[in-house]
């Protein structure tokens, strides 16, 4: 018999607060956390708004000072979100079999701190200010501290958390860009299902809210264009959408095998019932042209869950805000559900609340899907005011508290062509 998997803990850190309560409160008030970027001056940069976290103190979550020193902000956020998820799940770690507990995290290239790496480069310049590799080897390197590399290895969020919580089961790190955290959740689901663990920590963390990060996104033409001071510029599916606004954060959920959760009397948010993943052949915003991969991911998740098309009550869209990306997501929803059903299937995009958090986005999305299905409330797709006839979806414009939510399909599509969909069912007891 198939082992069932439920969500029993939520942890999140975002520009809407440390923890899921402030995030959910803001979401119910239709309030975005996007505002002017403050941690560095970005005058003249085409995008000056971001989902920046201002009140985060990593020491609240990491007691060991030595560990803190080897954590980039991405890792700190991941440790914080995991700690919050364990608290929310009310798990006493000493009562869990450590060999049956594991972790899967979404990550990717972690950005260096610009001042740290610049000091190293500066010590590698000759008298005329040119970079010399021989000087880098002899002097530049020594500017960096011995454990420098550990701050930026993609597997380090998962490693730190496995050490903090004594997770001796499988540990994996998925690096599929914007699909990474959703895939991490999907793979954690599979591991429990196949009896590889009873409890999995899953999600992702990203901080590209720094000069390197936002510059790279701009170079890739992924960011919104228009008025740099516009706080409402992030508008997925809207006719005037033009890209995304960068956020930072971490979203982590605790997945448990159903009996394991019931035995310890855990609070259950919902059941992960289906996972689908697939590939596209295209990447780069301007090259997107084919919706096949997105369709396959949704179809696979649906098939895996055993639900019929008309049993899905809501699509929690990837909704990156990138013009063609949203168009292809819309087209794939039409193809999978058929035009009649698609016309009355509500779709919500939540990235305008916190910005696009990249590797973390699927984790934060699953935190929000869990809250939606538990509270039976669907938030607004912020800044959506003009229909695009090519999209043709029923976008949820205002907070909706009257919708019956038995099943939510959540999508995450990586710009590099990896797709992930997860179907979550309401938990109504056994």
């Amino acid at each position: 018999m198939r082992r069932r998997v439920v969500v029993t803990g939520l942890g999140s850190v975002s520009c809407l607060g440390i923890g899921t309560d402030p995030l959910w409160k803001a979401v119910l008030e239709s309030r975005s956390g996007i505002g002017p970027i403050q941690s560095f001056a970005c005058d003249g940069f085409p995008v000056q708004q971001g989902g920046e976290i201002h009140d985060f103190n990593p020491r609240d979550f990491v007691e060991n000072r030595k560990s803190l020193k080897v954590m980039s902000r991405d890792i700190q956020l991941a440790c914080a979100a995991s700690t919050l998820a364990f608290q929310d799940a009310a798990i006493d770690i000493s009562k869990i079999n450590p060999e049956r507990a594991g972790i899967t995290m979404g990550a990717g290239l972690l950005d260096n701190e610009i001042d740290e790496i610049a000091a190293c480069i500066r010590n590698s310049l000759d008298e005329s200010g040119n970079f010399q590799m021989t000087k880098f080897g002899a002097e530049g390197i020594r500017t960096l501290f011995p454990l420098w590399m550990l701050k930026y290895l993609p597997n380090m969020p998962a490693c730190h958390i496995s050490i903090m919580y004594n997770l001796q089961g499988p540990s994996n790190t998925i690096t599929t860009a914007c699909a990474a955290a959703m895939q991490a959740v999907g793979e954690a689901f599979r591991i429990i299902e196949r009896d590889g663990a009873d409890l999995m920590v899953a999600g992702g963390a990203e901080c590209r809210m720094n000069p390197f990060g936002i510059t790279r996104y701009q170079v890739l033409s992924a960011l919104v264009n228009g008025n740099a001071a516009d706080r409402q510029a992030y508008r997925p599916f809207d006719k005037r959408r033009s890209g995304f606004v960068v956020g930072e954060g971490s979203g982590v959920i605790i997945l448990e095998e159903l009996e394991h959760a019931l035995r310890r009397g855990a609070k259950i948010y919902g059941e992960v019932a289906g996972y689908g993943t697939s590939a596209d052949f295209n990447y780069l915003p301007e090259n997107l042209s084919d919706s096949t991969g997105r369709e396959l991911a949704m179809e696979m998740a649906l098939r895996d869950s055993g639900l019929k098309l008309d049993q899905v009550n809501l699509i929690h869209a990837h909704g990156s805000g990138i013009p063609k990306d949203d168009l292809l997501e819309a087209r794939s929803i039409h193809k999978v559900f058929g035009s009649a059903l698609a016309a009355r299937l509500p779709v919500v995009a939540t990235k305008p609340f916190i910005g696009h958090t990249g590797f973390a986005s699927g984790g934060l999305q699953m935190v929000l899907s869990s809250k939606m299905i538990q509270d039976q409330k669907v938030p607004a797709t912020l800044n959506y005011d003009e229909d695009d006839s090519e999209i043709g979806l029923l976008i949820v414009k205002k907070l909706n508290e009257d919708m019956k939510l038995n099943a939510i399909l959540s999508n995450a599509f990586g710009l590099s062509g990896q797709n992930a969909s997860i179907l979550m069912k309401r938990w109504e007891g056994k």
Binding site: F136, Y165, N166, P170, G417
Partner: protein
């Protein structure tokens, strides 16, 4: 009934050759692929040697697909090795359903675009010339950085190219768990087929950290050997005088296939993947657990999933990095797992010849494990000259050995505590 998973195609790019045959032949000779670093000026670095891929010609691929013109070395190696594996499996002449083929890969990063990165930084020194003016950097970065070079650094890009080039629409993922990554990818690809989510999986890894920041980072951690004067003797797993690993680069790719699918199309079968174990040390970032707790458990889980006993194993392909601690702890873990039999089973580390391919290491090692089964030859641990009392197993010192082997155990342990064990078995 559980679906069985066999290997039907293999491909390698390594410091010992740019295909499977040359790499294998050189391993049988006990050759070393390590030499002075030529990819950048490393004369003042603490470590000046590495296992570089040599005489590598990627041009035919770029001629075929212009999107490959800007890819990193990781993707170049991956595409090249995947091309060999794909052809070897006969997939270029087989009309498979792209929806039933997936990829689970372990690609590293594409490497920093050094010239433009430094150019953008150096254009942005503030008034005092001491600290970067971040506002200036934003402007200069946008003007100077090359978008393709920036994009190709992301570790998801290898997967993007592989799925396009080899017509894959099914489940795809990329993991990056340091030195355990490609073994973990293969394990997860195996699980994907077992579950029925795909009939074919392209899997393995590709990595090159032989770039200034890679060597600098590992040097700072004092993980690399500094035996610069005699490169071919620098990687010496299990030897008393080992003092760190040698960084290397390359790719290993396997085509995994559901048995009935392979039989139906009369594919050549290298062997069967029968066991997979995955654990974490949950101990320390930089050190493995002193008693090999996670490693022992990974081997144990692999045996349980395969339903076989340690005594069935005819050869152990060790992680064997040539660092003092790894080789000692791995030896300890093997002894705990195998008991007295540990002294009777040959154990060798091909990192002695190749160096450490990091994310790609496990894939090349598993391919080697299948070749051992096919050819009844075991690759040596070269540079094994002086016995370490803590490492007292049969490491197949210096000379390849003839032996009929039906089952191979292959270990991979990642920096940060991920432990993966795979079991390869003769197909009958």
């Amino acid at each position: 009934m559980s679906r069985r998973v066999v290997v039907t195609g293999v491909g390698i790019v390594s410091p010992l050759g740019n295909n499977v045959k040359n790499t294998w032949d050189n391993m049988m000779l006990g050759a070393s692929g390590v030499g002075s670093i030529t990819l950048f000026e490393a004369s003042t670095f603490p470590t000046k040697i590495a296992g570089e891929v040599k005489n590598f010609n990627f041009k035919p691929w770029i001629d075929r697909d212009k999107l490959l013109a800007r890819v990193g070395r990781n993707t170049q190696f991956a595409v090249y090795a995947a091309g060999e594996a794909y052809e070897d499996a006969g997939l270029d002449h087989f009309d498979y359903d792209p929806k039933r083929m997936g990829i689970y890969f372990a690609a590293g990063d594409g490497g920093v675009d050094l010239k433009n990165f430094i150019g953008a930084l150096c254009a942005s020194w503030g008034n005092n010339g001491e600290v970067i003016d971040k506002t200036d950097y934003l402007k200069n970065g946008v003007n100077i950085l090359n978008r393709y070079a920036e994009l190709e650094q992301e570790p998801c890009m290898t997967l993007a190219h592989l799925s396009r080039l080899f017509r894959v629409r099914g489940p795809v993922s990329n993991c990056l768990t340091a030195c355990a990554a490609s073994s973990q990818a293969i394990g997860e690809a195996y699980e994907t087929i077992r579950r029925g989510d795909a009939d074919l999986m392209l899997t393995g890894g590709a990595h090159s950290m032989i770039h200034p920041f890679g060597v600098a980072g590992f040097n700072l951690l004092t993980a690399l050997t500094t035996k610069n004067e005699d490169p071919k003797k620098a990687s010496r797993p299990f030897d008393f005088k080992r003092d760190g690993f040698v960084l290397a680069e390359g790719s290993g790719v396997l085509i995994l296939e559901e048995l009935e699918n392979a039989r139906k199309r009369k594919a050549k079968i290298y062997g069967e993947v029968v066991g997979y174990g995955s654990t974490a040390d949950a101990y320390r970032l930089t050190d493995s657990h002193p008693e090999g707790r996670g490693a022992i458990k990974a081997m144990d889980l692999a045996f349980k999933s395969a339903g076989i006993k340690p005594e069935d194993v005819g050869y152990i392909n060790a992680h064997g990095t040539s660092t003092v601690v790894n080789d000692m702890v791995e030896t300890l873990a093997i002894k705990k797992t195998f008991g007295d039999y540990a002294y009777k089973v040959p154990v060798s580390s091909i990192k002695s010849m190749l160096g450490h391919l990091i994310a790609a290491a496990g894939a090349v090692e598993l391919i080697t494990s299948f070749l051992v089964i096919q050819k009844s030859m075991i690759p040596p641990t070269i540079n094994f000259e002086e016995k370490d009392p803590d490492c007292d197993l049969d490491y197949v010192p210096n000379q390849a050995r003839e032996k009929k082997v039906d089952t191979v155990l292959s270990n991979s342990f990642g920096f940060g505590g991920q432990n993966i064990t795979l079991l390869a078995r003769k197909f009958e």
